[in-house]
Symmetry: D2
Subunit: 324 residues, 4 copies
Amino acid sequence: MSSIRRIAVLTSGGDAPGMNAAIRSVARSASALGVETYGVQRGFAGLVENHFQLLDNRAVGGILQRGGTMLGSARFPEFCQEEVRRRCLDQLAGAGIDGLIVIGGNGSQQGALALSQMGFPVVGVASTIDNDLAETETTIGVDTALNTATFYIDKLKDTATSHHRAFVIELMGRNSGYLAAMTAIATGAEMAIVPEAETDPEAVADDVQQTYANGKAHYIVIVAEGARLKAAELTEYLCGHPCGFEARLSVLGHVQRGGSPTVADRVLASALGSAAVTALVEGRTGVVAGWSKGAVVEIPLEQATQLCQKVTPELLELARVLTR
Amino acid sequence: MSSIRRIAVLTSGGDAPGMNAAIRSVARSASALGVETYGVQRGFAGLVENHFQLLDNRAVGGILQRGGTMLGSARFPEFCQEEVRRRCLDQLAGAGIDGLIVIGGNGSQQGALALSQMGFPVVGVASTIDNDLAETETTIGVDTALNTATFYIDKLKDTATSHHRAFVIELMGRNSGYLAAMTAIATGAEMAIVPEAETDPEAVADDVQQTYANGKAHYIVIVAEGARLKAAELTEYLCGHPCGFEARLSVLGHVQRGGSPTVADRVLASALGSAAVTALVEGRTGVVAGWSKGAVVEIPLEQATQLCQKVTPELLELARVLTR
Amino acid sequence: MSSIRRIAVLTSGGDAPGMNAAIRSVARSASALGVETYGVQRGFAGLVENHFQLLDNRAVGGILQRGGTMLGSARFPEFCQEEVRRRCLDQLAGAGIDGLIVIGGNGSQQGALALSQMGFPVVGVASTIDNDLAETETTIGVDTALNTATFYIDKLKDTATSHHRAFVIELMGRNSGYLAAMTAIATGAEMAIVPEAETDPEAVADDVQQTYANGKAHYIVIVAEGARLKAAELTEYLCGHPCGFEARLSVLGHVQRGGSPTVADRVLASALGSAAVTALVEGRTGVVAGWSKGAVVEIPLEQATQLCQKVTPELLELARVLTR
Amino acid sequence: MSSIRRIAVLTSGGDAPGMNAAIRSVARSASALGVETYGVQRGFAGLVENHFQLLDNRAVGGILQRGGTMLGSARFPEFCQEEVRRRCLDQLAGAGIDGLIVIGGNGSQQGALALSQMGFPVVGVASTIDNDLAETETTIGVDTALNTATFYIDKLKDTATSHHRAFVIELMGRNSGYLAAMTAIATGAEMAIVPEAETDPEAVADDVQQTYANGKAHYIVIVAEGARLKAAELTEYLCGHPCGFEARLSVLGHVQRGGSPTVADRVLASALGSAAVTALVEGRTGVVAGWSKGAVVEIPLEQATQLCQKVTPELLELARVLTR
């Protein structure tokens, strides 16, 4: 029998659509096992400041379909100090909390790992639009961000075609080109520029010119924010090296973090939130709940926070072939 | 070296969002391998009538994001006659076609199997909103249909809450409760009624009454069209057995087949279309390209067209726990 | 100087997107004039039951973009009894309320008129998806309902085209054909059937056949729920009189009342809510705030609740010409 | 009886959603009167280059709901030379064209005026997302751009709230603050900065600080691209003068021109396109079809192209009151 009677849950790092669905799943799954859930405001910062609120079944009603996170999030660089982390553990002990669930991406799970290594029972839930955790194929928020970016670019193509323009579109993703590469496939973009591969501006300009010569009505190039060749830099280059289409820059920005989550993100959040509670209650801690090979997996935090590479040469080749 | 020089592609059965993306992927992947693609109008019916059109790279431009199928689809009961199928093979031979790709669900892949068993090289692409093919976790169109249904129900909840109503919502899915069960999780519906489990109207009425007594502002029950307890029948029962909320029926209907495909469906269609061409060219025929454990799989048509059960007791239990 | 210190606001009849925006505008506009606002739950029924809650500026935060009505709505046939209405006035007096704002359509404004005729200061806000109030060109909720119906039918056309089908689509609107006629123009539907004009099923069948013969890929006919020729009846007729396309019925239903309001509905609700408060405070009562000739108008309740005819022969002729 | 037998239509300037619907309405309305329509590619530039294509009823099928303009658009500074304009008239005469319809905004209608003053029968159709034509309350494309911006900002608020941020959002509109002011009302933004009024960065910073102190979870300020205080400049100021919320910049960009038009834009385009044909055929030229006081109006091009001011102090005051 489990000794877990009361758990805390927090969201950390950049927010992602579906974080609310994950909070709801944690609270209700815990409740079904007779475990009480407390929400922590504003991530690890709220731990130090002792910002706990009881999350019973009603407190998480009506949030399943809402973007953002009802618990808030915040950057908290002080957390890298061991003394600060020790204060967090004191606060958790003081509130009678037996375990902690951390909903977030790579940076947040590094925080979870640090607390876990100090001996506190912690389980993570993989949630970030950057998809930058290892050994999980996807994370909560990725699917919504992809759809937001894709439907935005579908609209941009209307005006690109009307004016015979080349649009350089910057997407988020930190060090990962996953959002950019998948969006390129989904929109049929002529080019994707990602951190996982090198691209010269001249090569892009040549391809733009070739595409213009072939009679296409527009050119779309999607640039991951983490790529070495920056979107603004490429736009400037294309403006300085005329190649048929007039070039324009579009930075999609924070809207990629917002919006009502898609079905895939709601269902993933529901499954991972529930799995994290089960793992915590059954004593399998120091892991993060992710998704791999069609099922929930529990990944040791040490492994999940390693560098990962989800943009494969095969993926980039598929994108290239299908846009011809 | 492959002897495949010219292939045909058709869409069959109920249309699904992403079929156009699959057609585009087939044509462009084939083109990259030096293989010509011909499109067949209106499914197997078009085979008999010899409706072929060349699909070069330009012919499939601009369709990636469009709903429906540019090739059309049609019911064609005559196809169960061997003589009719033999006529199809004659037409394929006459047009110099070396292989056929069939984009569709269970019924369509049974047709593909019949042609394959007569010795013609056939490869299927798993595409149907019903998700009724075995050994593939999902099929092209499911994700879009789920999102369409879910955002529709999100809107219905506004008016349900304003008027304290119980909405009985009928979704598609033929013999499968997959759409209904997943939509129930994604919308936080109070109840899902599926062919994979028995439900009595009295049990629903009791739960409605209980929910009303608990002070919730609405009740949503999602009914798969293939469930034994029909949506209309349940609505009538609830109207005859007052239980707090006034009951209303809503049949979502064919809109579930329409709309611009989501990112997941566009990417899945791109991957499966490409994989089907590769399988055909490399001589692995009599299979259908599907998705399992995070990767494309080639499933023998005999197995893929068996009965399958994707709504598990665990899934239904997750839905039940999270809506409390 | 006005003697109005405290007002009440309620929403009544079928809910409409934008009602929340109107409530917010009433509360904040009143607050800016130093007037307190109380919300009444569940329409006129809540008046009798004395369900008042203070709506300060914070209480109406975060509702601008939400569908439905935070105050709820309900049918309340007992309100036609003078004794019941007198009880309402007693409750208002007891709560120290100096004036009432009624947000709703024709039936609700008839209720407002009845209270006004008994001497209580009442001002209406025109809000219903039926657009059935006279002397106002539009009402809060119409624009959202039109867009919901139109984007739904855009999706249906995908599958209609793929299968060469005739879709008979039933829209709401009570006795008015406004939603149906405008949606027909916006979707390029082949036919609109409205209460304001007679249509024979044979004439529709002829037009379907003609359209099929002309080589179009689908046929869309939109039927107002209030039309004499009902959608179900027409579908049956078309199934019994084959005319090229296979006929299918689709009933859009209550989703037309839901969803986040469009900009036009949010702005209209903001303007009319504010205007209603001004009228009430400045002593111009027994009127409803509506929109005409590019500006807010105050329409005497007697006139606003008369029969109105917004579907003109010119509108129907425009729809007819543009779909050729 | 009219001597008009053949007309040309072009779209000019920045594209706007609904331009295709206007082209369709022109072509089909003309056809109904026995008049032939020719489309001109790429605006006034296409006139000089003699790029005409016949637009019969079928040629404009399927475009009603599509963004952009099938005729393309382009900047063409050479048009200010009388000699170039004379060449245009020669081309029109050579093609046997009796009249021209120009779909566009202020700059485009100035071009139309120039041709009209040289004696050619020209009628304009008011279409631009900037709403910068005088004596028409709105123009084709405005409603869609407003909804695109508003739903984008609804999503941004999710992440703004989660992180307690101030978002500075730049919208289009050239010299007009209409898009910015209306979007501010529709989103409940805390502040709108428009060319029609002066705003100091200190005043904004004070209001941000006040709002933070009041406990709100985010601050949204919408800045028209034509405002004297630029969005980037304001963001920098707010970052340099900490006031509770962290400031972030978001430039919405060209997506405001794209997307499927809303119902209001489709219906307006249908009405104005038809009205322009009627005016041209009936000999009322040198005018632009617009919308005022609930009806189509024909505005002399000299007046329509004057400066106009649609953002009134009352509008800004309404925005201010409702966001408290």
